[in-house]
């Protein structure tokens, strides 16, 4: 086999890994969409917010320090402690749950029975709010997130593949961990929704709000639950992406990457989110590799969208989505 072929294969493998990262974000979207019919644009910003909060808590920074300093002329910065990663992660998860409660209480509760598109726009507003809040709380400079995940080239894989094919594959260890984490998340979420009481309630709500209400399921509790889980997924995605490329504003743009993944996989399907992510990850890397040099590169910005757009024209509900039936 030629060197070129292996290189393409390697590009594909890396695409698969990147796809897993997209799927992590897409997963959060699907959860909320299934349970409440809300298309949560803020998912990406939630990941950014979670990562910012994690770094802030870990480093013991004082929230709103910049604002307080600017207003009162003080000179605050940190509490002066550093927390172990696991404590910081638990605390951040608690913050995300608190956020879910607040979102339910101050936003969603008031928007029951509105059209889906209004709710979608509300989540765009939420995205802006969280983005501003995150920056005000923790400052807008680029931060380094380190919770002890291994990074860099995986030497085992390189040596093994080198022995097998005579060509060492370059795969980031962080990507492998992301893949494992995504697999664990999907399995546990599937088990949760299949075999627990809350999970069953969640599926009932997804099926029919009114019917779920009539058998005594608390919609409000389910919403808080779903947004908390989505917050947790955002935290995981935030940790992965933050470790990979630093915690900064561009992190929230991964939401924009996750949207075509969703369109491809179908909004209502968890396996769809994973498969869609993999297709987009591989497609975008291969396209950049094969066609990119001919048209000036940086095709990754739009390839996923155009792919999803073309795909949707032929199959409007996505790969695994439920068939859209319209009644007059």
């Amino acid at each position: 086999m030629s060197e070129q072929f292996y290189f393409a294969l390697e590009v594909m493998m890396n695409g698969l890994m990147a796809g897993v990262m997209y799927s992590l974000v897409a997963l959060g979207f699907v959860l909320i969409f299934k349970a409440s019919g809300i298309f949560n644009y803020a998912q990406g910003v939630m990941a950014l917010f979670a990562a910012l909060t994690l770094v802030g808590i870990q480093k013991g920074e004082i929230p709103f320090a910049h604002v307080i300093n600017a207003t009162f002329g003080t000179n605050l910065s940190t509490f002066g402690w550093e927390l172990p990663s696991i404590v910081a992660i638990v605390l951040t998860a608690a913050v995300m749950i608190l956020m879910a409660v607040l979102i339910e209480k101050y936003v969603l509760k008031h928007l029951v029975n509105q059209e889906p598109i209004i709710l979608f726009m509300a989540t765009i507003g939420l995205a802006f709010f969280l983005e501003g809040l995150g920056d005000l709380m923790w400052g807008s400079e680029i931060k380094k997130l380190d919770v002890g995940l291994p990074q860099g080239i995986s030497e085992t894989i390189e040596t093994v593949t080198n022995n097998w094919f005579g060509y060492g594959f370059f795969i980031d260890r962080l990507d492998i961990i992301a893949a494992v984490v995504a697999a664990i998340l999907v399995t546990s979420l599937t088990l949760f929704s299949k075999y627990t009481k809350q999970g069953r309630a969640l599926r009932a709500v997804a099926d029919d709000h009114q019917a779920a209400l009539s058998v005594g399921i608390s919609l409000r509790f389910i919403w808080v639950l779903v947004w908390s889980i989505a917050g947790f997924v955002a935290l995981v995605a935030g940790i992965m992406w933050g470790t990979k490329s630093g915690v900064q504003f561009s992190l929230s743009l991964i939401a924009l990457k996750a949207l075509p993944v969703l369109m491809l996989g179908g909004f209502t399907s968890i396996p769809g989110a994973i498969v869609g992510g993999l297709i987009i990850g591989v497609g975008e890397k291969l396209f950049e590799f094969l066609v990119g040099p001919m048209v000036g590169g940086a095709t990754e910005n739009w390839f996923a969208y155009v792919l999803a757009l073309v795909f949707l024209v032929f199959r409007p509900q996505g790969l695994f989505g439920e068939k859209i039936i319209e009644r007059v």
């Binding site: 207003t71 101050y106 709010f129 075509p260 940086a298 969208y305």
Partner: protein
Amino acid sequence: MLYREAGDFKASYVEDSQTFPIKFDRMGYYVTLAIAFGIIPFIINDYWANAVVVPFLIYAIASIGLNILTGYAGQVSLGTGGFMAVGAFACYKLMTAFPDINIIFLILISGGITAAVGMAFGLPSLRIKGFYLAVATLAAQFFLVWLFNKVPWFYNYSASGQISAPERTVFSIPVTGPHTEAWAKYLICLIFVFALAWIARNLTRGSTGRKWMAIRDMDIAAEIIGVNPLRAKLSAFAISSFFVGVAGALFFAVYLGAAEVGEAFGTQKSFLVLFMIIIGGLGSIFGSFAGAAFMVLLPVLLKNLLVGGLGWPTDLAANFEVLTVGALIIIFLIAEPHGIAQLWRTAKEKLRLWPFPH
């Protein structure tokens, strides 16, 4: 007492179906026009023109355009920034290729080119609906911005990748380029705003607008009563994109003078215009103006308050602005999903009964 239909007798069908059936409204409209055309050009200065008035007018055109598509025809679009970029780059190419043709025609042609591009991206709307379409229009946004960044022909192979407007005149008064007076910028934008708003208002009142609204309310039902969804949707995309393209051309040629595509016409712009129509009111021409004014004034006010009043550094103020905008969107959607336009309508209803409510 002034705000009444009573005593204002309509003697013909034309009078009966006029845009402003109440005399007070009509007078208000003429007074606004008189002030806008007769007084403001003489008192406007550079600060007001650049910080408030000119961006307001240009965004008003863009939000009327988006309102036609989203508010009237019900097709949510997140590609406004990309379509503005089409208008801007079309205008730039035309300005440099045909220096002798009057800039006003060039701006109109740029709008036409944008309309064609908008129709092409509107084609999937026949199959895709709702958020799927909203996300699909993001494809237009990213693809167009990338295109204008990567293909040097669009920016005439300039080294910086920027486009900058050469000086062009109307009646030998410069309206683009560095030597433009504040009042000239203002007037050329105002003329476009006036003409386009008039067209939009009358389109939405007529059969075209009714078809759009039927499609918005329920497309299958509309099809059954004889609205052709292909024509209705594509005409909405075309006309909306025409407006947005003209806004983009003006934004680049008159307001900015020089532009870099990712910065001037990125996703932020799409969302900004979307927020304008949400806050102003979906499906309302007045709402487009109100929303544009609100979103242009808000940063100016916040900046004056926070940077000038509290002494915050500008980056904090910018973050706070993002937070405020987000919060306002949510508050508006909860309190008044139909935006400022609805508040205005409620106020007018109250006025008609005042001072004797029942």
